[in-house]
Amino acid sequence: MIYGILFWEFFKIGLFAVGGGLATIPFLFRLAERFNWFDVTQLTNMIALSETTPGPLGVNMATYAGIQAGGITGGVIATLGLVAPSFLIIIFISKILQKIKKNSLISGAFYGLKPAVAAMIFSFLCVLLEMIVYQAPSNKDFFFQLGLFICYVIMSFRLKIHPISLIFIGAVIGIILEL
């Protein structure tokens, strides 16, 4: 029963991949070795494509692997398998969060963890900047990209418009300037 296997395999990935979408990648390579759903080359191409299309990377990868193994239904089942552990664990934590936050060990852990999460956001930001500046499929040079980026930073701090409107402006400028 392919759907059962898919659900179970992705449930395990969802349970053991701690730390976000990138953490699922090693598990996917192991799947490529164990099953004939997709090979390593396909997987590598797909990771590259997933990074540039919308949607969280982990979810994109589960959908892709599931479709390769069992069509659209397979894609949906693999994705549900991936998110099921998160869903259950988070609901459990939500129920106890108010109580445990008063515990001094937990509040100490939060005290340390929050700046670390802010650091991870900054590090992710730097990786994005590196990608944009060095690897983007672009003919524009470094200073042009950087100048545009600085303009966007000023816009996002100053203009009080919805981020989606700003993202659309970004898309239009991207097409006009052929970024």
């Binding site: 892709y64 963890l113 700046p115 590090s123 993202i167 970024l179």
Partner: protein
């Protein structure tokens, strides 16, 4: 009933404009969720911190938190499905031979432009998250050490989570002791 649709559509929007993963969706999430009063900035940071240390994709963990907090289990189902639906649709279209849509040069330019704008938006969010998590020299210390470890040292996220939690717990105990 209206609230469930609102939750679903908000997260559908967020899912459509998330490139990469959980951190990239932060600007949009903040606007939608804090703007609508579903959670505060502080709660968002808590959710990211928990999402980082619990299994699964951060984007899904955070969506589940917000849906559950606002409307219980059914609310969590709405936010989670909103988050995964764009991925399922877009990846299905890729696999079933519509790759040319995403490889079209206009789409690529638009995506490149969007990514630049999203990075700029993320910078303003990152600054905000630092303000929310750094209260004293100790938290600033954790932030800087974590950043250096993740970005320059390529240290695993798992280690940084352990480091920051343990440091936080020890610091809180020391502070209590000397008060």
């Amino acid at each position: 009933m209206k609230t469930y649709f609102e939750l679903f559509f908000s997260f559908l929007k967020i899912g459509m404009f998330t490139f990469g993963g959980g951190y990239a969706m932060l600007p949009l999430l903040q606007k939608e969720v804090v703007g609508k009063g579903w959670a505060t900035d502080d709660e968002l940071l808590d959710y990211y911190a928990i999402g980082q240390v619990t299994p699964g994709i951060i984007a899904i963990n955070v969506s589940t938190f917000i849906g559950y907090k606002h409307k219980g289990i059914l609310g969590a189902v709405c936010t989670m499905f909103g988050m995964i639906l764009p991925s399922i649709l877009i990846i299905s279209s890729l696999v079933y031979g519509l790759v040319y849509i995403w490889e079209n040069s206009y789409i690529q330019h638009a995506f490149a432009g969007m990514r630049l704008m999203i990075t700029a938006l993320l910078l303003s969010m990152a600054v905000k998250m630092v303000q929310k998590s750094v209260f004293d020299l100790w938290t600033l210390f954790i932030l800087i050490i974590s950043f250096v470890m993740v970005f320059f040292g390529n240290v695993s996220i798992f280690f940084i989570v352990i480091f920051s939690c343990v440091t936080g717990i020890i610091l809180i105990q020391i502070k209590r002791h000397f008060r």
